[in-house]
Amino acid sequence: MSVQIAGVASTPFGEHPGSSTRELFTDAALEALEDASLSPAAVEELYVGNFIGDLTDDQAHVGAMLADAIGAQQAASVRTESACASASSAVRSGVQALEAGDADVAVVGGVELMSASGLGEVTDALANAADNEYENEAGLTFPGIYALMAQAYLHEFDATQADLAAVAVKNYENGVSNPLAQRQEETTVERVLDSPPIATPLNLGDCCPITDGASAAVLVSDAFADEHGLETTVTFAGSGQSSDSLALQDRPDLARTRAAERAAEDAYERAGISADDVDVVELHDCFTIAEILAVESLGFFERGEGARGAVDGETAVGGRIPINTSGGLLAKGHPVGATGVAQLVEITKQLEGRHPNQIDDPSVGLTHTVGGSGASCVVNVLRTGGA
């Protein structure tokens, strides 16, 4: 029994003033269902990632709210929360429900409405992913945590701030061609280095923006696809999720993401592949340093070599291992609770051959989503095949 990706959609990412969590998610879910040629009445399970809605909207119980909003009151509905990896956890839950034979149709998605709150309020809400007593109460912000990881990395491996900036330059360039991306403009190493400091050594140009957006995917069982004549191209191949200490201070190596290493190993084993088999990747570049740590944890580069990826063009659209052809979180945007499914939407489009930055004939794609500073990580692998 395998799980097929029958339909995918994301809203445009950016600012949606006057919109709401309900409206944004409904747009994405209905478009994904239309892409799958299914109606909301077919949905048996709904798993939806949402991270800070309790704080920004004063609204919990988001699963039921969104099942109701998309016209699927009959569905079992659950909100999943693993900080910025919430939507990738939703994907896992949907896949597991189908693999267990509990259902044949699941909608997995995520939504976050961030721009309506002030920058301070959003920064405060996002900080809930960190350890409250040991990190937030000390005045350590989220960019600050990644800045500490960046400083440790730059010291240990002799990389430079310009190497970090090269990640932003590459991902911004990819975002230019993505009509759904929040930032559709190029940048330069100089511009990143000259942008205002946020938490040294990270500047504004090293940081992803505040984003409103929603994404959804329709998962169906093989049997359902056969029975209903659904033609699918993309199959879910395997998944891994792991945890690490909540606080950065408790990790023996500040410049290493162990949850990602464990999640990748598990996902590769379940998918029956190795890192060398992966053709295209969407990974969690919430800050430039995060992409460098991720490409090492995923096995695409040796430790200390990850910074070469963007500098040498190996991770560019035409490179050895294209990373974040959507523009990534840096350019596409990062509606935190939606990001994991947004990544899945992009990989599905690549494997279906309909991506704005299409690479040549990919057969295996991967998403990597991080919660907090690495205390959660989900790796999902997709492949061509279909039903």
Binding site: G120, E121, T123, D124, A127, N132, E133, Y134, E135, N136, E137, A138, G139, L140, T141, P143, G144, A147, L148, M149, Q151, A152, H155, P196, P197, I198, A199, T200, P201, L202, S245, A247, L248, Q249, D250, L254
Partner: protein, 123 residues
């Protein structure tokens, strides 16, 4: 703040800082834990923590959460104690500090049952 952190901070304030050592595997950890993060046994014992530590990483924060927005720029340090635990705090007395330098730990009161961990160079 949680009661366990208030106790942890008050012990630093009293000049009697502590950490948790695993009697089984020797791992060092900070409260609140009953299970050793390394070996999983429940044999953590409270031990005295030295008052000085070595800077492992630091960052100067220019854009902060509302509680600290008026304090920017300020520097955050992760420092490693000889016993093996690391702690996060704000740097005092100087604006920047290099990796490997020695710092002394302290706390500042931020109101009732609210404490901020700080580090200052010993040199």
């Amino acid at each position: 703040m949680q009661p366990w952190f208030v106790e942890f901070a008050e012990r630093i304030d009293d000049g009697d800082p502590f950490y948790l050592a695993c009697e089984e595997c020797g791992a060092a950890a900070l409260p609140p834990r009953s299970v050793c993060p390394d070996c999983g046994t429940q044999t953590l014992e409270e031990r005295s923590l030295s008052g000085t530590a070595t800077v492992a990483a630091s960052t100067t924060i220019f854009s902060s959460i509302p509680e600290y927005a008026d304090d920017t720029p300020y520097t955050i340090v992760i420092a490693t104690f000889d016993e093996g635990v690391r702690l996060t705090g704000q740097l005092r007395d100087v604006e920047e500090i290099d990796r490997g330098e020695t710092v002394a730990v302290d706390v500042e009161s931020r109101g009732e049952d609210a404490w901020l961990v700080t580090f200052a160079p010993t040199g």
